[in-house]
């Protein structure tokens, strides 16, 4: 870096916002106010708080990471169009052309699945033939997949109310729904870091993980009819669900991304694709960053879970298998961070460890539901 280069002091944050930022902010604000006006009477104080907080969060996120503005507006417009087409009648899902093939929740989720598969192919093609174009297409496909996924979730939320006013709930209540959440969040985390650090090649490693989740989702849909909207059991009827579950899945998503980066790291160390993926230093730094953000959210999620458990089951910690495995995941990453930050551990061992951590996380997420029984038995296979 040349010292003669000009370094201009950045203007204050608020002045750096563009007119689009302000319009975006006003739109989200308008959305929140409309929601409060229309549905405020059905919400308790906490739910209103969560709504306002997520509105602010969405604005802040969009201002910080500009692409979010487009994403938010895109899926909002599509979801509203879908809702408009429904005309308050669930049966229109099969009658209306747009709904049937594009934007009923089930169709949107199928589109999300397809787009993720395509993005995975594109990102690998990009690496193998060193095509920047292909990599960029894969990146855009990922954005489209995320848009479709969010649309699917939003419309599913609406559909659940069409099934019955008492059935309606936010679609993060069972294994099927949280798998969609997982795909979206992992993809978003990847997109964030790849814009920040210009490391779009990471996609070739994380998109297969997402595709595997999509594969599971499809099996779960077609073999087990898991996509049917089910009413909430009493224990899940709480505002806590709206914060506990997403926080948890930011954690899971970040840990998965860290594992994907760890694989890239190990490939690079072994001399495989070394020249086609980001440098070891960047990968190492990214791995730390993703685990740090995952750990932060996972900690918050576990604490929120404990507070919810105290309200629903009468005990903030029951040593339920899910809780215990969450603790094991937490201890594992705490040890990882401790070794890196305090003991200064570096090198491939951390990458291997992040990979092992992913399997521990996977067991906590899926294995517990498959093999163990307990209070968290919402998603049995």
């Amino acid at each position: 870096m040349e010292l003669t280069e000009k370094y201009n002091e950045p203007a204050p944050y608020i002045k750096r916002l563009s007119w689009f930022d302000w319009i975006y902010g006003l739109l989200v604000l308008g959305g929140v106010i409309t929601a409060l006006k229309l549905y405020g009477q059905y919400m308790d104080t906490y739910e209103k708080g969560i709504l306002i907080f997520s509105g602010c969060g969405l604005v802040a996120l969009g201002w910080h990471w500009k692409s979010i503005r487009v994403l938010t507006i895109a899926f909002t417009v599509i979801s509203l169009f879908s809702i408009y087409l429904y005309q308050g009648e669930i049966l229109n899902a099969d009658k209306n052309y747009f709904l049937k093939y594009l934007i009923s929740s089930q169709s949107a989720i199928m589109w999300m699945s397809t787009l993720f598969f395509m993005a995975t192919g594109g990102s690998w093609l990009g690496i193998l033939i060193r095509s920047d174009f292909s990599a960029r297409v894969a990146q855009h496909l990922t954005w489209c997949a995320v848009t479709a996924g969010f649309t699917g979730m939003m419309v599913r939320w609406y559909e659940s109310y069409l099934m019955g006013v008492d059935v309606g709930h936010i679609p993060i209540s069972n294994l099927y729904e949280v798998f969609i959440l997982f795909c979206i969040i992992t993809a978003l985390l990847y997109l964030y870091y790849q814009t920040r650090y210009a490391t779009q090649q990471i996609g070739a490693f994380v998109l297969p993980v997402i595709s595997a989740a999509v594969g599971f989702l499809l099996w779960y849909t077609f073999d087990r009819q898991a996509h049917e909207i089910q009413p909430l059991i009493p224990a899940l009827q709480s505002y806590w669900m709206k914060i506990h579950v997403p926080a948890n899945f930011i954690g899971y998503g970040a840990f998965s991304l860290a594992a994907a980066i760890a694989i890239a790291y190990l490939f690079s160390k072994k001399g495989i694709l070394t020249s086609r993926i980001p440098s070891i230093e960047i990968l190492d730094d990214l791995m730390y960053k993703t685990i740090a953000i995952g750990f932060t959210f996972f900690t918050i999620a576990t604490i929120l879970g404990a507070m919810w458990a105290a309200e629903a089951w009468g005990s903030y910690w029951s040593w339920d298998p899910k809780e215990t495995w969450a603790l094991i995941v937490w201890l594992n990453y705490a040890a990882w961070l401790h070794m890196r930050l305090v003991k200064g551990l570096r090198g491939p061992i951390l990458a291997w460890w992040a990979l092992v951590g992913f399997f521990v996380t996977l067991f906590a997420f899926l294995g517990v539901n498959m093999f163990l029984s307990g209070l968290h038995s919402y998603g049995t296979l």
Partner: protein
């Protein structure tokens, strides 16, 4: 440190064991699973309640001590480090810092110093000026709060563990040491001796109690090892009413209890409805909706004798959870009424793609235990069900709780009563009426086709044989008879003929029964044949039913019960405080970046030395250093806005 890590590893493994092995099951289940030897071994290790085993708690305590020690040893140093600006750093030590840069400047050094100070202030650096004979040193730092991250997270872990230990079973363990004992007998609560009762002022507890509607409780039961202990409460909880709501698919939608909590000291009463996710906190005890059940519903039962005697039995009344001595067919039994469900929503289609949920009305469960102590369990529907176009009363039977119920379908006649079935059954089982049945059968079946005398005799004999065999043991008896008396290659054909004959005989019997009861004949239409065929099937199945009687529910007076969990957990606030500190600490640790900056001005040589360090060498730090180098170099130019 190593010690702490090994302890942590042991805890992690123990926790995994605890998730794989179901915790706090009744001890006989474990014996059945592992056998006597391993059961004893695992019990010694405390594996049935890992998280409360003495060794688990001891390890946890060690961890707390070790972490506390770590805090005690490192925090003073960290605080000193946070306060220090390291303004005594020498030029040579600064040159040894890997991130340094030497500038030459041409402006007045006082102006430069001023500019640097303004810059540092703008950038939220705190700094100290150190002037020696020919050098001016600006020692600056930012993000010192980063170090609080370590301190807070470690303190948080200690606080959370402490809170957990208080709410865990340490208070209980201590009381066991001073003489409290576990009760293992199933006796009424009031008879539990004082050494198994815990005082109302117990520090922390978690217990359960079931209260029927209209009843009260002032104790809860704590599950301890293979038994329980009784925890006294400082108040009385009364259940006014329990509500359960269902979705249209039959899944439960909400459980709620109307409670009255009466303080024992002041006598003041508090009324509140609790629900799942909406507990009642009374003083320092939290009352949660945990489960529900039957609180002793009164059942009116009609008894249908299924033995050959077909004795008319008096009707019976009993409450759920009651055990009644009864006598059927000169044998003593005990009737244990176990459960009643007012609502059963079932999917009534066989088509897996289509779902048709319907409430099929109440069911009740009971066990019929013979004098030897073995029992069969029954699950009877109160209302008739339409299955494949005909109406039935269903009664399920099983030998053990892990089997599913096999259902006996009792067909209903055109009046939707069991009378038709009962009449038919009684006649088929009455040997005295058999000749009359055969006579009528011969008369009707030979009306249209002329048979010679030998054939007639043969047919009549066969018919009598079939009727007799069936009445002794159903289809199985007929199959046995065929196996013994018909050549193997003709058995299948003979079976078809026999079944057809049996059906015709059955229809004849039913007509005769109706005639004797002065009911109008029903002819031999489709539904009559169906009814007779169903009845024959059921009669045959009833040989395997395993009960001398069928109990028909004719009326009930429902009493529900609520299952409450009551806890006193003073450690909860500690745990929450610790959690808050943990989150603050994690944010400080990850997202506050510590930076130290030294700017050494040497006026005589017109040189400025920049050195920068961080406790964590990351890419962000490299980037920051790069930016800082340029920013400082901008300040050295003569034309600069800041003067």
């Amino acid at each position: 440190m190593r010690f702490a890590v090994s302890l942590l590893t042991i805890l992690a493994i123990a926790s995994i064991v605890g998730t794989v092995l179901k915790q706090n099951e009744p001890y006989p289940n474990y014996v059945a699973q592992f056998g006597q030897f391993w059961f004893g071994f695992f019990e010694m290790l405390g594996l049935y309640d890992v998280y409360h085993a003495a060794w688990f708690i001891v390890i946890l305590t060690f961890l707390i001590l070790s972490t506390s020690l770590c805090i005690y040893r490192n925090v003073p140093g960290m605080l000193r480090e946070m306060r220090s600006f390291r303004e005594h750093a020498t030029e040579s030590s600064l040159q040894h810092i890997s991130h340094n840069h030497l500038y030459t400047f041409s402006i007045d050094h006082q102006v430069l110093l001023k500019r640097l100070q303004v810059h540092l202030t703008q950038k939220k650096y705190r700094f100290k000026l150190h002037v020696s004979e020919n050098k001016i040193l600006l020692a600056a730092k930012s993000g010192s709060a980063h170090r609080w991250g370590y301190i807070l997270t470690h303190i948080a872990i200690v606080i959370i563990c402490l809170g957990g230990l208080i709410d865990g079973n340490i208070p209980l363990k201590l009381q066991q040491l001073i003489g409290k004992k576990i009760e293992t007998r199933g006796i009424p609560q009031s008879q539990v001796p004082p050494e198994s009762r815990l005082a109302a002022n117990n520090v922390s507890f978690r217990g359960n109690v079931t209260i029927p509607e209209g009843s009260s409780a002032d104790v809860v039961f704590l599950n301890v090892g293979e038994g329980y202990m009784v925890q006294e409460l400082p108040f009385t909880v009364t259940l006014k009413k329990f509500y359960i709501e269902h979705y249209s698919t039959g899944q439960p939608k909400s459980f709620a209890s109307d409670l009255i909590v009466t303080d024992k000291l002041s006598g003041s009463a508090t009324e509140q409805t609790i629900k799942v996710n909406h507990p009642l906190i009374y003083k320092d005890v939290a009352i949660y909706q945990a489960s529900f059940g039957d609180g002793g519903t009164l059942l009116d039962l009609k008894i249908l004798d299924l033995t050959n005697t077909h004795k008319k039995q008096p009707s019976l009344q009993g409450r759920i959870h009651q055990t009644l001595p009864v006598k059927f067919d000169n044998t003593d039994y005990t009737l244990e009424l176990t459960d009643f469900r007012p609502l059963n929503v079932e999917n009534l289609t066989n088509n897996p793609d289509e779902k048709k949920f319907r409430n099929v009305g109440p069911t009740f469960q009971y066990k019929l235990r013979n004098a030897q102590g073995s029992a069969k369990e029954f699950n009877n529907y109160m209302l008739p069900l339409e299955l494949d176009g005909a109406w039935y009363l269903l009664s399920g039977v099983r030998d053990s709780p892990n089997e599913s119920f096999r259902y006996l379908r009792l067909p209903l006649d055109e009046e939707k009563t069991l009378n038709g079935y009962t009449m038919l059954r009684r006649m088929l089982f009455d040997q005295r009426i058999h000749p009359e049945i055969i006579r009528r059968f011969m008369q009707n079946s030979t009306k249209n086709n002329k048979l010679d005398e030998t054939m007639r005799t043969k047919l009549a004999q066969s018919a009598a044989q079939i009727l007799h065999t069936f009445s002794k043991g159903g289809y199985d008896a007929i199959a046995d008879f065929l196996r013994d008396s018909v050549p193997e290659e003709e058995q299948e054909k003979a079976a078809v003929v026999y079944l057809k004959l049996l059906e015709v005989i059955g229809l004849e019997t039913y007509q005769l029964a109706r005639q004797r009861m002065n009911l109008k004949p029903i002819g031999s239409n489709e539904s009559a044949i169906r009814f007779v065929r169903d009845s024959l099937n059921t009669i045959s199945d009833s040989f395997l039913y395993g009960s001398p009687v069928y109990l028909q529910l004719t009326g009930f007076d429902e009493v529900k019960a609520t299952g409450l969990q009551l806890t006193r957990s003073p450690g909860k606030n500690l745990v929450y405080l610790g959690s808050l500190l943990l989150v603050l600490g994690i944010f400080a640790m990850f997202y506050i970046h510590e930076r130290r900056l030294w700017l050494l001005i040497k006026p005589a040589e017109n040189k400025l030395l920049l050195a920068m360090s961080s406790n964590r060498k990351t890419l962000d730090f490299e980037k920051d250093f790069g930016q800082k180098k340029i920013a400082i170099s901008n300040l050295l130019e003569s034309k600069n806005g800041i003067n």
